[in-house]
């Protein structure tokens, strides 16, 4: 039998302690950090002060038009301009969504970039994306961009098997020639360390980044190379104790503290092959990488990238403030994406049609008493999406009452109790018990019945018969 080592006396209370310092409801639950976090690196304990994130200029960057577009048929120019406009709205005046990147290869690519810039938004700043080919800088210069991403793949899978270099040195020299070309063209290179979580960190990645930093010291600060850590296959691991090359804490520490890449020039780019994509991005923020690269709703190559809207809520939770972000834009963006044929799974957090819809009657009962019981935060205020119930045989009269109140928009004392919805509750139960139905009841069906059973409410709130 195990022996208790500490007793925990009950702290009796007559009033609830809802822990509102952490769960303010008007904001997403805050992430309160106390440190330090310890990671053993090369056998030595290293402390990380996570709480510094509150004051650091962490940002979200976007690759919806690059990686996001690699997973689907191309967007039209108008669609991209509309998405860019909404990204700017979400970003807010502080530029929380700081940058977004564009292909530059086709006439449409360049026209899109021009039209986005014609909107006159400060954020997100527009950057480019090119191959690691010297000639491609002409495109960047012609587009008058200050910064461009370039592929600098760093695992031996890519160096030898994809790019067919004969040695790592040949590969590094080739990359550095292109970085030099960027400097000469007056463009800041952002080196995308593709497949870094499957690379030889000590044997290639750190020597390459050392050289990048050395080269960057020869140019003005605004041209100094940025480094994007690309977890191309989603192999990155967030928790302490993991070994390189998969450890995100160790990777960031090595680049940040050993190679001297400042946090402001470090960016994390993830993929969701192992369901780790958002947490890995947030981990990168905490361990010293200022930028997390995302796409709207996680659309991206294969399993996708960190969802931008998840990063937005993580950002607010870490900062404890909206920081000028317009979260309502997320719902507008989700509606727009659906309207142009991009499906978002119904249960997708923050944006799916049913992300805050409960089907369980007992949860609906809780919602009816106090929506905070089963709603993550004030989703109506932040997303224009009040919590809802979907009606099935499990919904109960509580669920039906919640649906009716939400449908008619009844507030406070005007809300009706479950006794008043007994006819509709009976109709719902009979659908399953008598009619043998196996599917959820649609809103359209319920609306018809609401009109039949609540003619007075219909007249008052839905504008007549």
């Amino acid at each position: 039998m195990s022996k208790a080592v500490k007793r925990h006396p009950l702290v009796d209370a007559k009033r609830p302690n809802l822990l509102e310092d952490t769960f303010p409801y008007t904001l997403p639950p805050l992430i309160r950090l106390e440190g330090p976090a310890i990671e053993y690196i090369d056998g030595e304990p290293v402390e990380f002060d996570f709480s510094a994130v509150e004051d650091r200029d962490i940002v979200i960057t976007d690759t919806t038009f690059r990686d996001g577009q690699q997973s689907r048929p191309p967007y039209t120019i108008d669609q991209m301009v509309h998405i860019y406009d909404l990204l700017s709205r979400i970003s807010g005046p502080n530029g929380v969504v700081r940058q977004t990147e564009f292909f530059l290869y086709t006439k449409n690519d360049r026209e899109t970039l021009d039209k986005c810039r014609e909107l006159g938004h400060t954020y997100p700043e527009c950057t480019g994306w090119i191959r690691a080919v010297k000639g491609d800088f002409r495109l960047v210069k012609e587009a008058n961009l200050q910064e461009t991403g370039m592929l600098t793949s760093c695992s031996d899978y890519h160096i030898f098997h994809k790019l067919k270099f004969r040695s790592r040195k040949e590969c590094m020299d080739s990359y550095c020639e292109v970085v030099d070309a960027a400097f000469e063209a007056g463009v800041r290179p952002r080196c995308h360390l593709e497949d870094v979580t499957r690379a030889d960190i000590e044997g290639f990645v750190l020597p390459f980044v050392d050289r990048l930093m050395e080269m960057s010291r020869q140019v003005p600060d605004e041209l100094a190379a940025k480094v994007r850590l690309c977890d191309t296959m989603g192999f990155g691991i967030s928790y302490p104790g993991a070994q390189l090359p998969r450890s995100i804490p160790k990777l960031i520490y090595k680049l940040n503290q050993e190679c001297g890449v400042p946090s402001s020039r470090l960016e994390w780019h993830g993929h969701n092959d192992f369901h780790k994509v958002h947490v890995n991005g947030a981990t990168a923020w905490l361990y010293g990488c200022d930028a997390v690269n995302t796409t709207v709703f996680g659309f991206g190559e294969r399993t996708g990238n960190p969802p931008l809207e998840a990063a937005i809520f993580e950002y607010i939770a870490l900062k404890g403030d909206l920081c000028g972000i317009d979260t309502m834009g997320i719902t507008e963006l989700a509606n727009y994406m659906r309207s142009i044929g991009l499906p978002i799974p119904d249960n997708f957090p923050f944006a799916g049609r049913a992300f805050n819809t409960t089907r369980a009657g007992i949860h609906a009962g809780g919602l009816r008493q106090d929506e905070r019981i089963y709603n993550i935060f004030d989703t109506e205020k932040l997303l224009g999406r009040p919590p809802r119930v979907a009606i099935t045989d499990k919904s109960g009269a509580d669920g039906v009452a919640h649906w009716v109140n939400e449908f008619f928009g009844l507030k406070g004392d005007d809300r009706i109790n479950k006794i008043k919805v007994h006819k509709l509750a009976r109709w719902v139960i009979d659908q399953y018990d008598v009619e043998g139905r196996l599917t959820a009841i649609s809103d359209q069906e319920l609306e018809e019945k609401a009109k039949e059973f609540f003619p007075d409410l219909w007249q008052k709130h839905k504008g007549g018969p």
């Binding site: 009657g361 109960g396 009269a397 109790n417 479950k418 006794i419 008043k420 919805v421 007994h422 509750a425 009976r426 139960i429």
Partner: protein, 86 residues
Amino acid sequence: MATVAERVIAVTAQVLKVTPEEVKAEHSFTTDLGAESVQSIELVAMFEEEFGIEMDEDAALAVETVGGAVEFIANVCKEQGVDVEQ
């Protein structure tokens, strides 16, 4: 005019689809008479309609037996000025 008890038994029998003779004062609506969740709601709604009263939802649903319902409804009728036969 029927008494409160007779009217409660009549409504209970109708909603739960049993005969009035099967309904006894000491019977629990759920364990003895088999009322399911939605039928409990229907019972309260039908009692309100039968007696022309409004009952507090939580208090009404907390009543467990037929006899308890008779007593509860008689009190509500008195509070709301509704004349009933005791």
